[in-house]
Symmetry: C2
């Protein structure tokens, strides 16, 4: 008997999600470079490549190393690589695969330039631009100037610009995903034009997230999308309209360990099992609870402590100690990071354990 809690992936749904996104990109003439942070599993990355992805996106050198070891040959680290150890590892990795690295500051670019020069090789970089998320990325209005400076540095090949924005419009979180995607695309294409007017020959204009992907591809001039979550989808994406709850391929199976009162059941999945980075009641999503409880209308995963999930249920719900419940997490990417392995469930219902090889890479 398989124990709980465990994260189960429905292979058929995952496969369909992979194919649908690949077909959408193909139909739009745009490259698809999925962010593999959602699954962190080389086998799944290879399925995405097999369906037509041109390469993968990662956030860390360590994740890139795991993907390269797993047979992925074209990797974009969409993150400013600035520490000495990471720069050295990136340079070493760049000798094994096609590697592109993010930059968003003069200091960061200079560190990469010096290291690449010392090794006698040229490193391909993309400039990260902030288009509204207020995270990393050079401020939009300073991007042309920084591109010019990077262009002047030795041993760096500035091949493109990229942004990550998600569901943001006019600088604020939004549920107007189409508006968000179109704005994101137009900002990036117009910036690419201005950079090219300076004589800097960038080719890649890379952007997009799971919810905005289908809208950004409508903007002429973008060349690549980098959605991640679509491989499994999650409750947040369903709320954003990117999928239905039925299309969500990942769920956590929990056991009821306690039924202290008529309207409370405690399950064995807490904050070590469900990520808490997408909090209930937070605008614009305003999700109720920490996940969608399948097949128990009105049930809300109200509170989490590390090992306990507090489920508010209806008085007539007949959940008993020992019963299992299936819950779709609010945010699957950070949830996967909590699990050493996932259970891949085939159409025969058999679950096969798959190690989350790039999990837990903090460095």
């Amino acid at each position: 008997m398989l124990d709980t809690p465990r994260l189960v992936i429905d292979r058929r749904k995952m496969r369909r999600n992979i194919e649908t996104m690949a077909a959408m990109a193909r139909g739009s003439g745009v490259s698809l470079r999925p962010h593999v942070k959602t699954h962190k599993i080389p086998d799944i990355a290879r399925e995405q490549l097999g369906a037509g992805a041109v390469g993968v996106t990662v956030a860390k050198v360590s994740e890139a190393e795991v993907m390269a070891d797993g047979g992925v040959e074209d990797i974009f680290i969409a993150y400013p690589v600035v520490t000495g150890p990471k720069v050295r590892r990136a340079i070493a990795l760049g000798k094994r695969v096609r590697l592109v690295v993010g930059v968003d500051s003069v200091e960061g670019a200079r560190t990469l330039s010096v290291a690449a020069e010392a090794e006698g090789l040229t490193l391909e970089v993309r400039l990260e631009v902030d288009t509204g998320l207020k995270r990393t990325g050079v401020p939009y209005e300073e991007a042309v100037e920084l591109a010019r400076k990077i262009q002047g540095m030795s041993n760096l090949d500035l091949s493109g610009i990229y942004t990550y924005r998600g569901a943001v419009l006019g600088g604020s979180p939004t549920l107007d995903i189409k508006g968000a995607g179109l704005e994101e695309g137009e900002l990036m294409v117009s910036l690419a034009d201005r950079i090219r007017e300076e004589g800097i020959e960038i080719t890649d204009v890379s952007l997009g997230s799971t919810p905005t992907a289908e809208y950004v591809v409508e903007v002429d001039g973008i060349t690549e999308i980098r959605p991640g979550t679509y491989v499994f989808y999650d409750r947040m994406q369903a709320r954003l309209g990117a999928c239905t709850l039925e299309e969500c391929a990942a769920k956590v199976v929990c056991t009821v360990v306690s039924r202290p009162t008529g309207n409370r059941a405690i399950v064995d999945g807490g904050s070590k099992t469900f990520a808490t980075d997408v909090q209930p009641g937070t605008p614009p999503l305003n999700l109720e609870g920490f996940g969608h409880v399948i097949g128990h209308p009105g049930a809300v995963l109200e509170r989490l402590t590390e090992e306990h999930g507090m489920l508010r249920i209806r008085e007539n719900d007949d959940l008993r100690v020992g019963d299992t419940v299936d819950i779709i997490p609010n945010h699957i990417c950070s949830t996967v990071n909590l699990h050493d392995a996932v259970c891949m469930k085939g159409e025969d219902g058999i679950e096969e354990e798959l190690r989350v090889a790039a999990r837990g890479k903090v460095r």
Copy 2:
């Protein structure tokens, strides 16, 4: 050069925290059974035992197995063990070490009883009581009746009662820690008396958390405390008055990877590095940000995405790309669970990597 982000433990501070709590328990004539979920490292558990702890507390059979493998011989699983695989593993473990298991339902107790009988052994159990946290635990007013039923089951030895409550008073979160501790202690002692009046010879009355430990020991009749966080302390405990920020033994060292604007720095620690289960601005703690930034007055770790920590800083702060910052997490237990290893820093300043052996045990 050590890379970032990394979780660094100050050995001297940890040692002092361990000794101070042990001395407090010894002075009160109460047993100390620390919850090892905070560190999840057998070496540190053995230090706690060496300082006088009678055994350890864990939340899962899998954690208990790691501790037993690491030489711990007296383990309390303070959690209802109800699934078949876990019951079998608990029974097997009970042959190697002194093991006590939590129960809070008739169904759960019966499962244990049947399994113990089949193996021809007696399993020591403690009854979990809800004293206000509304989590697991039999409702307080139903505890005597459940104790009577468990007492009647074969192959179970009901040796005590326990509760976990933390900073709760009169059923609500509170900053009146002394009041919370005294109420918790009095509720449990009075319940133990009523159970004994039924002729049920329980010996252990186990309760207490890091903030309430020093107050519950003032109540005559309690026999054991189970604080966990005190080994490292954290920002939440400092806010609750259980420690000072200087006594916090664990901090995350991050690198500034981007300085997009005058008042914003991005560090390489996000929600994969800092736990997000204690959210900023949530009563009664109302902590500002996801951690205490050491040495940068006014700096607030405002937002986290998986790989990015958004630090709001003062305009005159001279943080640069490549600089490191030290941050005390809001909640150290769930933060440790995100790290495969911690760096134990000795008085010589040398950091030694220590594997978090019981990390990531979802099952």
